[in-house]
């Protein structure tokens, strides 16, 4: 209850602070100073989390002392699973891909539901410190522990790198700092609280950052609704905005500017249902076995409350998913009003801001460079419609304020900076979850369990603190190491690949560990190796890595040429589960440890 009271204080304190900043801005405080104060606010929150959560107690460092109540835990879980991808990418994905843009958030939500059904309450009853410790105790195998930890680390690093990749666009848009310097500040800002309080600090970080991110996300949307309709509750005005957009599009069709299909924006049913179903399923399986989320569910006070945490996380995600199309609707209306009928030849005079933004925008299918380039892409004398302007989903949240300012809207700097502050907060939340999980892997799973089995817990706790710093330094080095950039894919691809690795490698082992009483370590090791091997082969083929041409040919033949990367973990998960259960059936093992009894709460 104390946590809820503190969170309430944070919530209302942030509202008061934003009101004061808005008032000061009206009274003449410079917008730049407002932005700096808001970024400082995010850092003050992280500092608070570190001081509030400082502890040397073992269970605080690993499972937040088993103290998390369902609502804060669900909030933190939703924040971890959303991260910078959800904040910065998902609204843009809905704008660009319409209903198809909802696939990733819905898949993530399905993953939480699957995790709740298959793993969470039983894993909580096992009373383990990390998900990997569960595997080690359940199968009594150090080899399995090593393999699972390595696979988990790969999965987390892929997600971490993908999430942090959003930072470069953010820092370039809102600060004058070098991207490397901004990265260093963020990583240190996240690592310090974790050094002080471990998982307890991660909980505080995720809860407080969720409040900041929520304000940033909703405040800007409310301002857009107010600007368009004069009423600040966007959910109530969205249908009017959508109708107005449709009318404008129909008018443009009559004038011969737009296509008839443009009038069905957000109304069209995706025709490639097979791809969408596979993507939903692949994401759900991957998210359900993603170790930072499993670790977060372990912080609940009881198995019943861990179930309730999942339900709260799904409620928060539902609210987010309902908000995503509304962002797209209001921006679409403004762009339709502004762009429809503009002459391409006249763009340098009527819409010069398009040439200033450049990055992340494309006109008539070609990247915007200058007026001549636009004329070359759209054709001499062409008149524009809203569909001609494409916005890269990855850059959506950084571009939208610039677009609106360019179209003559006066956005209060407090609101614009809060949008960026929310993006930063969402990044901090997900990075903290990845850092603490990687530190637990290094200190407990690898050192404590695999290497130094007689090590005292005091040393393991100390190593968690050191490992957090090592992970932060390693992340900085990896992301600033020039050769690494050549292997980098787009952020969303990296994150989907991370979930695929969890789906193919870890999902079968957790299923066997909980739902098979006869599976031994051989079955688990084989399931993990076959599942992860299959997934890596599929990923390599889908990403076009050299040496996987034969696999790519097989995938094209068996699964189709358009097989989505979000579903890359499905073959590995299916094969891994099948082989694991087959081994358990053919060569059952009678285990002498009591963990199976504990899983049932006996």
């Amino acid at each position: 209850m104390i946590r809820l009271k503190i969170l309430n204080a944070f919530f209302f304190g942030t509202i008061v602070l934003l009101c004061i900043l808005g008032l000061l801005e009206r009274l003449g405080l410079s917008g730049d100073l407002v932005a700096r104060m808001l970024f400082a606010l995010a850092l003050v929150y992280t500092l608070f989390a570190g001081i509030r959560a400082r502890s040397v107690q073992t269970n605080n460092m690993f499972v937040d002392g088993y103290r998390m109540t369902p609502l804060p835990n669900g909030l933190a879980m939703a924040m971890v699973v959303t991260g910078a991808l959800g904040y910065s990418f998902w609204p843009g994905a809905v704008y660009a891909n319409q209903i198809g843009g909802l696939v990733v958030p819905l898949g993530v939500m399905g993953g939480l539901a699957l995790m709740g059904a298959l793993f969470v309450p039983h894993l909580r009853r096992a009373d383990v410190l990390t998900p990997m410790e569960f595997l080690q105790q359940r199968f009594s195998s150090r080899i399995l522990l090593l393999l699972a930890t390595a696979l988990s680390a790969i999965s987390i690093i892929l997600v971490l790198v993908g999430q942090v990749s959003f930072l470069s666009g953010l820092s370039a848009r809102f600060t004058t700092a070098e991207p490397e310097a901004a990265l260093l500040v963020i990583l240190i800002g996240v690592a310090l609280p974790l050094v002080l309080g471990g998982m307890r600090a991660a909980s505080w970080l995720q809860m407080t950052m969720a409040i900041l991110a929520g304000f940033g996300f909703l405040l800007f949307l409310s301002w857009m609704a107010m600007d368009v309709s004069g009423f600040p509750i966007p959910y109530l005005m969205a249908s009017d905005a959508l109708s107005a957009t449709k009318l404008l599009q129909e008018d443009a069709v009559v004038r011969g500017i737009a296509q008839v299909s443009d009038t069905y924006w957000l109304e069209l049913v995706p025709t490639n249902w097979r791809i969408i179903s596979l993507s939903l399923l692949g994401l759900a399986v991957g998210v359900s076995a993603f170790p930072p989320l499993l670790a977060r569910s372990q912080t609940a006070r009881s198995s019943k409350e861990s179930d309730a945490s999942i339900a709260w996380a799904i409620i928060f995600l539902t609210a987010l998913i309902c908000t995503l199309p509304i962002y797209a609707i209001f921006l679409r209306l403004q762009l339709t009003e502004f762009l429809t009928g503009l002459s391409v030849a006249d763009l340098s005079r009527s819409a010069p801001f398009l040439f200033d933004i450049k990055s992340g925008l494309s006109l008539c299918g070609a990247a915007i460079s200058d007026a001549q380039g636009a004329i070359a892409a759209c054709g001499e004398g062409a008149r524009l419609s809203a569909t001609d302007l494409s916005i890269s989903p990855a850059a959506f949240m950084t571009i939208v304020p610039d677009l609106l300012v360019g179209m003559g809207r006066e956005i209060p700097q407090t609101i614009s900076a809060m949008l960026a502050c929310g993006a930063l907060a969402s990044l901090i939340a997900v990075v903290s979850a990845c850092f603490i999980s990687l530190a637990h892997h290094l200190a407990l799973d690898l050192y404590g369990k695999f290497l130094g089995r007689n090590a005292p817990m005091s040393r393991v706790v100390f190593l968690v603190r050191v490992s957090v710093l090592l992970v932060a330094v390693g992340t900085y080095w990896l992301l600033t190491w020039p050769p690494f950039a050549t292997y980098l894919k787009t952020p969303e691809t990296l994150i989907l690949a991370g979930f695929a690795v969890a789906a193919g490698g870890l999902f079968p082992v957790f299923v066997l560990g909980i739902w098979s009483q006869r599976a031994g370590k051989i079955a688990a090791c084989v399931a993990l190796l076959v599942g992860s091997g299959t997934t890596i082969a599929v990923l390599g083929a889908l990403l076009g890595v050299d040496g996987f041409a034969q696999v790519a040919f097989s995938i094209n033949t068996l699964l189709g040429a358009d097989y989505p990367i979000a579903a890359a973990g499905i073959p590995g998960a299916v094969v891994g589960v099948f082989i694991g259960f087959s081994f358990a059936r053919l060569a059952p093992v009678k285990l002498d440890n009591q963990i199976i009894e504990r899983l049932s709460g006996a």
Binding site: V128, S303, I310, P456, M457, S458, S600
Partner: protein, 123 residues
């Protein structure tokens, strides 16, 4: 108890997982059958993906949670996990209330740790 508990739990969880998979796989197929008429100003397909599918997942999660508790009551498993009342994990017994950690509970049998926990000074 354990064997029958798991047999029954597996049957129930199989139904829940099957329903979850049906929602995930079947949602796009169902969406394709929706009529284009607007509902309160929104396209039905948008409402289905933004509200219908998330609510279906939420309901399944809550049904599963309720089913789990009923199942635990049937088998006289303490749904509050005992550990919540004792404020310590049940089996590991690593973190008793007085914070005198029994470190050996973390380790395999026969491999006793040589030191005690770092103690507790928390806020």
């Amino acid at each position: 108890m354990s064997k029958s508990y798991w047999r029954s739990a597996k049957a129930k969880i199989f139904i829940i997982v099957a329903l979850l998979l049906a929602v995930l796989i079947g949602a796009p197929i169902f969406a394709a059958t929706l009529q284009p008429n607007l509902i309160v100003g929104f396209p039905p397909v948008l409402l289905f993906f933004c509200l219908g599918m998330p609510l279906a997942l939420l309901i399944l999660t809550m049904v599963k949670s309720s089913m789990q508790q009923g199942h635990d009551r049937t088998y006289e498993v303490d749904t509050e996990d005992k550990l919540r009342r004792r404020a310590v994990p049940k089996r590991l017994k690593s973190f008793p209330v007085k914070a005198e950690e029994v470190a050996e509970a973390h380790w395999p049998k026969g491999e006793r740790p040589q030191d005690k926990d770092a103690g507790e000074t928390t806020t």
